[in-house]
Amino acid sequence: MYVCGQVNRATGNLVLDASQLEFIDPLGLTTLGSLLEPRIGSTRVEMPWLPLRLASYMDRMNFFERCPVLCVEVPEMGRADARDRLVELRQVTKEAESDQAAHDLARAIAGELTLADELAPPDEQSGFNEFDRYCHPLQYSLSELLLNSLTHARREGRWDASVWVAAQYYPKVGKVRVAIVDNGCGMLAPLRNHPKLGEKTHCAAILAALSPRVSCNRELELALYGESANEGVGLTTTSRIAKAAKGHLLIMSGDGVHFTMGNGRSYTLSEPAGWNGVAISMVCMRNALPSVAIQDLLPAELPADIPHVPVRFVD
């Protein structure tokens, strides 16, 4: 986050010193891509001291294809087939791409990483096969997070905001990490006048966004032209999915950082980050995905005086 602020405040060409860098995960990769994107084609960005193994990893994740950083030494060895462990960095700029992007990521993790057969016959009772049970909670979460980013990032005049996604599986610990990062307006600006926002801080905005039914455009009249109103439960449900899959969310926006593990922990950076996009990392255990039942995770806290609404289901 500090680096984000420094990069955003920098003018002219940029040299990033990554000599002390030891590890990059999908969140770091997508955040860096989102940060450097506005500079592509206009300024020169160099990373001359990037360790070889990290350069190889970033090259494998297609980072340099998206962000042409100079002075990076990339090993000339053949591209390893790592489809069973990672899903390369990709950029999503339109809502029309979101379903496909969510499906591709979820499918890669569910299929390649779990060896589940997509075409296996479904279970008669549930109608799903093993692949579906791995894929479904991931695709649901990714779809909602992508939609959130593509919708809200472009408020406050940030029409050119884009979303970066990447994913990786760590087989030694059985963990899946998925990252969705946008370079839009962040969470605080759209929620600034929301009655549920206590303090006007980035941390408070993150906490408000995690609460059910908090959205900057929940009322249809408040939606911008052509925009849909949101119920404000996408991030809430995704957080519960991560928890049900024995994981958590890490959410960053502005100078605020929030972990959803346990009862939740928030931090405010001591220095202004100078970056207002939203970065979300979803971490979960691969083997816990099939047990996630989204029907049990929807916000159930409805007002007591809500009228009974009969809905007809037929088979």
Binding site: E95, Y225, S228, E231, V233, G234, P299, L302, P307
Partner: protein
């Protein structure tokens, strides 16, 4: 667009004629008239063509389907939305029926039925229906209590609506 007329024997032994239409949305909309009941029309909308994998998430996919639903209801038809083989996110379902309920009230659900829904989809539909119905009722109460229109330009939100 194409259309054809099929004869279908329904569960109750009724012989019905059905028009099968491909729609601009890529979905399939079937209009079934019950010969015996005569005036009753039921429109069946299948969502399977909209799925990516087995999931439908995009709000923009729901908008043309909602317009088909509104058109069918305005002609006095019942609409059956078929979720056979698909899952959906809360955002999609909200765009599909939440907007209808918010604008028309929960009574619009009397003209709707949902078919072949998984447990997840049922729960999502019920959640959206209850949540948007609650919003509709509260908005009606607020409008009754304070008849002057609320000036959104002073609330810090911008809107490009005329």
């Amino acid at each position: 667009m194409f259309q054809c007329v099929l004869s279908i024997k329904l569960r109750h032994g009724l012989l019905a004629h059905a028009k099968v239409l491909s729609t601009a949305t890529g979905g399939f909309c079937t209009q079934i008239s019950s010969a015996e009941r005569g005036k009753f029309m039921s429109t069946l909308i299948s969502l399977m063509p909209l799925a990516t994998g087995r999931m439908i998430g995009m709000r923009s996919k729901a908008q043309p389907v909602r317009r088909e639903i509104e058109s069918a209801i305005s002609h006095g038809n019942e609409v059956v939305v078929d979720f056979n083989g698909v899952e959906a996110t809360q955002s999609f379902v909200d765009e599909l029926i939440g907007v209808l309920i918010f604008n028309r009230g929960p009574s619009v659900l009397q003209s709707l039925a949902f078919k072949h829904c998984s447990g997840n989809v049922k729960a999502i539909i019920q959640f959206v229906a209850a949540d948007r119905s609650d919003q509709f009722v509260k908005r009606q109460r607020a409008a009754s209590a304070a008849p002057r229109a609320r000036d959104f330009s002073r609330s810090g939100f911008t809107s490009l609506h005329a």
